[in-house]
Amino acid sequence: MVFIPPFVPDAFLSMYLPAIYAGLIVGFIGTMAIALKREEIHILILTDLVGLAMIFVVSAVGTDLAEALILPGLVVELAETLAISEILITREMRIIEQDPRRNLSKSSSLFPQPFALNMEIMTTAPNFIALVLVGYGIFLTGFTGGAVAGGGIVLYALSKKARGLPVLVLDGVAGVSGIAWCLWIIGFLLFFVTPQYWLLSLFLAACGLLLKVASKVGLIGLLMREDLDKE
């Protein structure tokens, strides 16, 4: 017996089987390519394909549940890619340290040349756009707001660093993350203990998630900092 909720539109029902089969085909192609490749960086890129297959299968549900499941899936995939790329780089550095005859060549970076242009729009526009992004992110709250605000923080840091200016380094980002977890857990607890304060607990959870996601995206900006540090 197949249980179909009554609020699923008819058009989505006819799209269910093709989406599931497409997800299976894409996942099969991705895993086959992973099995045939031996270099780790290629495997890391091909992991993206398996993530896309996951999105296909989840989105075939077609309700708000699908949307709620896709968001954490994407973020977990992002964190996984970040962690594995760090591991690959660290391992390669360890191999070089063990064999000192192979010296590091003169390094290039993601942004090879610092901007030396002295135009007014270079100083004012990134500040304004970052301010608007952070303000709009705080207004949105929740997951999306965190992403928007974090994007604003990253844009600010990148635009200052690309011109060779010092960036204000905030220590204790991990502490902000801990406070965000506490807010989230308190909000979740209040939902069950005192359901009449649901608005308060909703906003506690939303603001906690905002802090958490914004600091996570800001962390990615900090990680890019070492690439931008070169003159």
């Binding site: 799209m15 290629h42 296909f56 989105s59 949307e67 896709i70 780089i89 992403a147």
Partner: protein, 86 residues
């Protein structure tokens, strides 16, 4: 009036062709070309999400695709300048 189903099946087509191109396409031994081919499959997924009205998921997919591309480029450049076999 163009049917929504056309975009849906075109998205599926793009995703499958893009994944085949990522796996066995021309010149994929260069990791940068392989990364670019992944974008094609993700555009297909974007079309499918658009047909399902998943706006938040679509926006998050776009944002994470950009960030993942940056991370992968950083890893590829670092590994190549250290002389690893990529």
């Amino acid at each position: 009036m163009i049917e929504v189903q056309i975009f849906f099946y075109f998205g599926i087509f793009l995703a499958i062709v893009g994944s085949i191109a990522t796996a066995w396409g021309p010149g994929v031994n260069d990791p940068i070309i392989r990364t670019f081919n992944t974008e094609m499959a993700s555009i297909g997924v974007c079309l499918v999400l658009l047909c399902y009205n998943h706006v938040l998921a679509l926006l998050t997919l776009l944002a994470t695709t950009v960030i993942i591309t940056l991370i992968l480029f950083r890893a590829i450049i670092r590994l190549e300048e250290m002389g690893a076999d990529v």
